[in-house]
């Protein structure tokens, strides 16, 4: 028989491994989402750079495809414990509030031009990524801060090729970040 100290250590080992399994599963799903958004954002930035007059349509399509992909991911990978309809409604509200606040900042409070919009949305998106990372794992923080920093560098130092820079930094960054998450 073991003593209570050894029993506590064994339970701590169990807690530790359970947390690691949960994080590993979260990273697996998050990596798929990141790669999907990365592909979509890469394409939208490329369209913005090559055919600026179609940029608005490209970004509306990108947002629809991005959110649609996340919904599909959620449907194909239902949570292991059913949280009820409340969680899905809350998730939907997160997207609505996210885009509503972004629109308010860029079109109502301020009147952002294409370059400002190209910097604002990735940094705004990455802010949530970084904040989520404070609870769910350092990979989100690293990806969020990394892409935000590179976006700012591009905003201040890259000229007309800024959308192309963002295709690689934001789109490519999310794809690489997502693939990296799978290896952690």
């Amino acid at each position: 028989m073991i003593d209570s100290k050894e029993a506590s250590a064994a339970l701590a080992d169990i807690d530790d491994i359970v947390q690691r399994v949960k994080q590993s599963q979260l990273y697996e799903l998050a990596s798929l989402a990141a790669v999907w958004w990365g592909v979509v954002v890469f394409a939208a930035n490329l369209v913005t750079w090559l055919w600026p007059i179609y940029a608005v349509y490209a970004w509306v399509a990108a947002d629809a495809l991005g959110v649609g992909g996340l919904i599909a991911l959620r449907v194909l990978n239902p949570p292991h414990r059913h949280h009820g309809a409340g969680l899905d409604v809350r998730l939907l509200l997160v997207f609505v509030l996210f885009f509503a606040l972004g629109y308010l900042c860029t079109n109502v409070v301020g009147h952002f031009g294409p370059r400002q919009l190209g910097a604002f949305w990735p940094i705004y998106f990455m802010l949530f990524y970084t904040l989520a990372g404070l609870w769910f794992g350092y990979a989100f923080v690293a990806i969020g801060l990394g892409i935000s920093a590179l976006t700012l560098i591009g905003f201040f130092y890259i000229g007309e090729a800024f959308p192309l820079w963002m295709a690689f930094v934001n789109g490519g960054g999310l794809i690489l970040g997502g693939l990296w998450m799978r290896r952690i």
Binding site: M1, I2, D3, S4, A7, S8, A10, L11, D13, I14, I17, V18, R20, V21, K22, S24, H80
Partner: protein, 99 residues
């Protein structure tokens, strides 16, 4: 008075069972993922999985994904039950119900 399960109590086997038990009933973990989670070596992990499989606590499925062999380990109902009893016994020891 409940007894600790000698098969599960070994530290690496405890980690394996804890990891598998954290998944839904029918879900398993790939060998490579289990290796990363537990920090074990290939040989050590393989040997302990075999011990758990012989006890009927896990099932091992080997398949090919493309040309790559893939081993998936899943906790059986018996394994989940044994793990739950083992954890309950550990909690009893901490609560001072067992000496």
């Amino acid at each position: 008075m409940a007894e600790l399960d000698d098969i599960i109590h070994q530290p690496l086997r405890l980690k394996i069972m804890a990891a598998l038990n954290a998944l839904p009933a029918t879900a398993g973990l790939e060998f490579a993922r289990l290796k990363k989670l537990t920090g074990a070596t290939d040989g050590n992990l393989g040997a302990h999985i075999e011990t758990l499989a012989k006890a009927g606590y896990v099932s091992v499925d080997k398949a090919f994904v493309g040309k790559k062999p893939q081993t998936t380990v899943t906790a059986t109902a018996a394994g989940r039950g044994a793990f739950a009893r083992h954890v309950a016994t550990l909690q009893e020891i901490i609560a001072g119900k067992q000496v």
